[in-house]
């Protein structure tokens, strides 16, 4: 099997928002432990360099993506980006001291809503996670969870009362997770929230949430704030999980039926060798 770094180099990673007037002309950041520079030229064209190398670059879903590979895997698709009456909301970036894989896994988890997103995405005593379905879509090579239902006091900025929200989750790349959820205003469409994760290195990441919503009422600031609020609540958890890297050995942590998506995600990572940010050997319990 390919080593984790080589495997990770085949994917695309977010490093900026396309229309960000505040990004410096030379913006320095890190991907997969390498220092890179995103340069914005006078006429607006973009390039990414890592020392003498130049990296591949593309724009999609309001973000700038880069890959160290000369021949990267195609970027995953979100067909709903063509639905022009959605509002597309890049939510900025937040740095987290955790493995990029832990950040994705947390996004796939609903059982934490009542305790971490109390009175917004969940509340006691509505803590039960009903059975749902998880598959690996072999043709697209994605993890898919469907029929995930949960009671939510305030499912979105536009929600006025508690509703049972239904979710679909997709993991189209090791460091990307997309969810489709009940839209509080309409029952014929689903809102989309995704988490694009930039692997700074195996123990640190930067998270770029992006939304594609049907919401005509809320202000941009309100929608961005709502997503940032949710993610900052998660960040407190993510920075306090031990070990920092995602354990792949099933004996190291104890899943229940509510964690089927997480179990499938870990298996899928293992099978495809996407182990950058994973803990492969059960570690000596460290003091850290």
């Amino acid at each position: 099997m390919m080593n984790p770094v080589e495997r990770a180099k085949q994917d695309w990673y977010p490093i900026g928002i396309v229309s960000d007037p505040r990004r410096p002309k030379r913006y320095a950041t890190r991907v997969l432990g390498k220092d890179i520079v995103l340069e914005t030229k006078e006429e607006g064209s973009l390039s990414v360099s890592c020392g003498d190398e130049s990296w591949e670059i593309t724009e999609a879903y309001d973000h700038i993506w880069t890959s160290p590979s000369q021949n990267p895997k195609p970027l995953f698709s979100i067909p709903e980006e063509n639905e022009r009456d959605r509002r597309f909301v890049p939510c900025g970036v937040v740095h987290v001291r955790c493995s990029p894989l832990r950040a994705v896994e947390n996004f796939l988890d609903i059982a934490h809503f009542p305790f971490v997103h109390t009175d917004v995405l969940g509340s006691e005593p509505h803590t039960e996670v009903a059975p749902y379905k998880v598959n690996i879509d072999e043709t697209k090579d994605e993890v898919i969870a469907t029929k995930v239902k949960f009671f939510q006091p305030q499912a979105a900025k536009s929600a006025n009362e508690g509703i049972v929200t239904e979710y679909i989750y997709r993991v189209p790349a090791p460091m990307t997770a997309i969810l489709y959820k009940t839209c509080p205003n309409r029952d014929d469409v689903l809102d989309i929230i995704s988490l694009f994760v930039q692997p700074i290195d195996e123990d640190n990441c930067a998270v770029w949430p992006w939304m594609a919503l049907y919401d005509d009422e809320s202000s941009m600031a309100d929608m961005v704030e709502f997503q940032q609020l949710i993610f900052l609540q998660d960040r407190n958890i993510l920075e306090n999980q031990i070990p920092k890297r995602l354990p792949i050995d099933p004996k190291m942590e104890i899943p229940t039926r509510a964690d089927l998506t997480s179990v499938a995600y870990r298996r899928w990572l293992k099978k495809s060798g996407a182990l950058y940010g994973a803990l492969i050997q059960p570690a000596e319990q460290s003091a850290e």
């Binding site: 960000d20 505040r22 740095h95 305790f115 109390t118 006691e124 709502f226």
Partner: protein, 232 residues
């Protein structure tokens, strides 16, 4: 609606006003300002409202406040019928102590607040220096609260909380972002730990992202199966 607050959910300074309003039971109009990524607080529109270019901003009629210490004072004088959050006029010494620790709360924004903005958004700072100053500030509060505890005082200026406690609380409770090891700074101060529990136990307490709530306060209203955990 008693006043308007220009607010950002992740700001520890904005949280001071939200927290105090919740404790006092005051209704207000909240307008979200996109601090990140848009830096809307520096936009021309916002600078017209408050030239200070910072959040929060509290407005009532013609009055525009851009300093949280002034906001807490005004809220205490206007809405606090108990008279406990700001000491009364016959006690200048007590007022002076509250002012002293309100001033200290500004140091917390300048140290822990900066360290946190750097951890979240990579804002440029001299991190080593900011961390060192954050530790100095935390130690100063820890020493003070320890001395208070010798006289059975649980709060910064006495046996009851004042606006000085609320002004200091957010960045102290968010101090997990100081240092390289998450939480180590936050978990190394026993007097501060006890004080945080006291603040979280105040009636009307609300959390903010990064500050967990004490779910145990709710156990009387929770599902009975949760309460009846058998003893080991």
């Amino acid at each position: 609606m008693e006043f308007t607050l220009y607010d950002y959910a992740l700001s520890g300074n904005c949280y001071k006003v939200r927290l105090f309003a919740s404790i006092l039971g005051v209704n207000y109009e909240k307008i979200s300002v996109e601090f990140h990524p848009a830096a809307e607080h520096k936009s021309e529109t916002m600078l017209q409202i408050s030239p200070a270019g910072t959040l929060p901003i509290l407005t009532v009629g013609e009055m525009v406040l851009s300093e949280t210490q002034a906001m807490l004072f005004w809220m205490a004088k206007t809405y606090d019928r108990s008279g406990a959050w700001w000491p009364n006029n016959y006690d200048p010494m007590a007022q002076a102590m509250v002012l002293q620790w309100l001033g200290f709360s500004g140091d917390l924004t300048a140290t822990i607040g900066q360290a946190r903005l750097n951890s979240l958004f990579q804002t440029p700072i001299d991190r080593a220096k900011v961390v060192k100053c954050s530790v100095t500030a935390l130690r100063r509060l820890e020493a003070h609260l320890t001395e208070q505890s010798f006289e059975q005082k649980k709060f910064i200026t006495g046996v009851f909380p004042t606006i000085a406690d609320l002004a200091c609380f957010p960045y102290v409770a968010l101090s997990g972002d100081v240092g390289t090891d998450p939480g180590l700074e936050h978990d190394s101060y026993p007097a501060i730990r006890n004080w945080i529990y006291e603040i979280k136990s105040l009636p009307g307490f609300i959390p903010m992202p990064g500050i967990f709530e004490m779910h145990q306060l709710k156990d009387h209203e929770a599902d009975p199966t949760i309460r009846q955990v058998p003893e080991g």
